[in-house]
């Protein structure tokens, strides 16, 4: 997660690798020595696995482990026709949209308020960000206890509203629990970025806005919101990648490791098909689809961030 964050901030330097310090050292072997640990780790644990995934995605694994046969794009066409996979795709789209929308919305509201108050500002900041440090599966465990079918406190609350909530039985009830926990877990990150984005708005701009526009709602939509747009775009990508990948621990705990007919995201499917089903080729093809998805997101991110320069 931190990685995609850092990447998103690659903005001001215009992607120059030419920007070596002018008075750089010219020692020929030392830099190579310095790069060896990083390069060897990524060669073994990044490029090899990634390449292997692409390669296996074109093969069909023998179910008894006796080698594999080249099947071309069959694994991919299988995916495109698999109802299970298409269901996961649909669910992932809904899940990502809901989680992104609510975690961004709630965090933005809280950040705007935290930026406004003077008294207790620091305490609020602490109280609203510390959940960042709670591991997703721990959050998932709390969700399991709170949404428990027979004794969950939130289940009982929902039942008192007439919602017969059944975690693990009803598809959308389980999905609701997953989304609630995922939103809860993501609010702190969004809050921190929105707050720091707000605090970066110069006082002169705020004062000018105050003179021009009396209503605080109007000020927010006309001045603050556009100025926050770059942060918002950046967070949008962060949240999509969060919903796609980092919610694994939440989903795995809420379905209790036994997905059955419960909703599943694409990443969870890769895991289930690859490690439970032993479908190496199919799982690899899914990995490759995800890689392409992430690459598209990254390209979009760069396009949006190029625009960021016009704002600031």
């Amino acid at each position: 997660m931190a990685g995609r964050k850092a990447l998103g901030h690659r903005t001001h330097d215009g992607e120059g690798t030419d920007h070596v310090k002018r008075s750089a050292f010219k020692n020929p072997w030392l830099p190579i020595l310095l790069l060896v640990p990083q390069l060897s780790i990524i060669a073994v644990f990044f490029y090899w696995p990634a390449g292997y995934a692409v390669q296996t995605s074109f093969f069909l694994q023998d179910p008894f482990g006796f080698g594999s046969t080249y099947v071309g794009l069959e694994n991919y066409t299988d995916l495109a026709t698999s109802t299970n996979y298409l269901d996961a795709l649909k669910f992932t789209a809904v899940f990502t949209t809901v989680v992104t929308f609510f975690s961004l919305g709630i965090a933005l509201l809280l950040a705007v308020k935290a930026d406004k108050v003077i008294r207790g500002a620091r305490s609020y900041r602490t109280l609203l960000m510390w959940v960042y440090a709670v591991a997703p599966p721990v959050a998932g465990l709390m969700g399991v206890m709170l949404f428990d079918q027979s004794r969950g406190n939130l289940t009982q609350l929902l039942q008192s509203f007439g919602w017969d909530f059944t975690l693990g039985v009803s598809y959308w009830d389980t999905a609701f629990a997953m989304m609630t926990v995922s939103v809860w877990k993501q609010i702190p990150v969004n809050f921190i970025f929105f707050l720091s984005g707000l605090q970066a708005i110069p006082n002169s701009v705020r004062e000018a806005a105050l003179i021009d526009n009396k209503s605080s709602m109007g000020r927010f939509w006309d001045v603050t919101f556009p100025l926050l747009a770059p942060t918002g775009f950046f967070l949008l990508i962060i949240n999509i990648t969060y919903a796609l990948f980092d919610t694994f621990g939440i989903i795995d705990t809420i379905v209790k490791g036994e997905p059955g007919n419960n909703p599943m995201t694409l990443v969870y499917r890769v895991f289930v098909d690859g490690f439970r089903g032993g479908d190496l080729g199919g799982s690899s093809a899914q990995s490759v689809v995800l890689m392409i998805l992430v690459l598209i997101l990254t390209v979009v991110q760069f396009r949006l961030l190029e625009r960021r320069i016009h704002y600031t």
Partner: protein, 302 residues
């Protein structure tokens, strides 16, 4: 109509009402923030309160708001009682493993990243562009999308159920390298010129000037990376089948499976205690070092 006349009424007395209105909006601001804080706090508080109750109470009534009498017993069991299939793991073992993973990951990543960033920023290298792209492509694909082949690679190297297999593959993403590259580039050019005039070689410059200058950045990176490492779930789940290598977060999975099993009443109180133990160290670090943490998180674009 009535609604409109009601809302416009306060405007008739601008001075008093104006003042009052500011106060009203303050009240709303604080109310929203307090609600937000409670939203974050209450679920964790309930787990904490429940960690002081016995399993039967929680089994019957759900998570608790008040404190019970089984606090010491639950934490004692969560920390010291051996469990699992082989009876070879307890809370202390998992705590130690979580610490090893968090520290190993953070320190490893910072060292590897600083070295690589130093090479990229401060040296003239013929293949610098190539190295840059090779390294920074890793930021694009998280471990989750290449999880199965990474697992196969570890198996092939016989590194499953080792700390190396647990930690090193997680380092294979260049976040720290990128972070330090950005920071090094913001350091004034004059510094290295002055250092060279004084006759400092590359090693001396790195150790005596660059590392001390990067202290805050190292601290910020350390906090983020420690929390990130501590909270890892998928990779430890796959790579450690030997229970003596379980981390706390990995241990949560065992609790969940006891739930799914359903044959006996799960030890809810102990599970809650373990969840609290699992979240306490990273939460304390983030709270106590929050300035560094926020800096590391948001200011990596310098």
């Amino acid at each position: 109509m009535t609604d409109i006349s009601q809302t416009s009424a306060p405007a008739k007395q601008p001075v008093i009402m104006g003042r009052r209105r500011i106060r009203m909006s303050d009240v709303v601001d604080h109310a929203v923030l307090i609600l937000g804080a409670l939203l974050m706090l209450v679920p964790v508080y309930m787990i904490f309160a429940s960690s002081s109750h016995d399993a039967i109470t929680i089994h019957r009534e759900g998570l608790q708001f008040g404190f019970g009498e089984h606090f010491a017993a639950n934490y004692n069991a969560a920390l010291f009682e051996y469990g699992g299939f082989t009876d070879s793991v307890n809370g202390v073992t998992m705590l130690t493993n979580s610490l090893i993973l968090g520290l190993g990951f953070a320190i490893g990543k910072i060292i590897v990243g600083m070295m690589a960033a130093y090479a990229i920023v401060y040296f003239r290298l013929r293949f610098a562009t190539f190295a840059f792209w090779i390294i920074f492509t890793t930021l694009l694909l998280p471990l989750e999308v290449r999880i199965l082949p990474s697992y196969e690679a570890i198996q092939a190297m016989n590194l499953a159920n080792t700390y190396t297999g647990l930690i090193v593959p997680l380092i294979a993403s260049a976040t720290a390298t990128f972070f330090f590259r950005q920071f090094f580039r913001s350091i004034p050019e004059e510094l290295i010129e002055a250092a060279r005039i004084d006759g400092a070689g590359p090693v001396k410059f790195f150790i005596d000037i660059l590392v001390p200058l990067s202290r805050t950045m190292i601290a910020a990176m350390f906090i983020i990376m420690f929390v990130f490492g501590w909270n890892q779930y998928l990779w430890p789940t796959l790579i450690t089948t030997d229970e003596s290598l379980f981390t706390l977060v990995r241990g949560i999975r065992q609790i969940i499976q006891a739930y799914a099993d359903g044959s006996t009443t799960p030890e809810y109180g102990e599970a809650a205690a373990l969840a609290i133990i699992a979240m306490t160290p990273p939460v304390l670090i983030v709270v106590f070092f929050q300035n560094w943490f926020v800096k590391g998180l948001t200011e990596s674009d310098k």
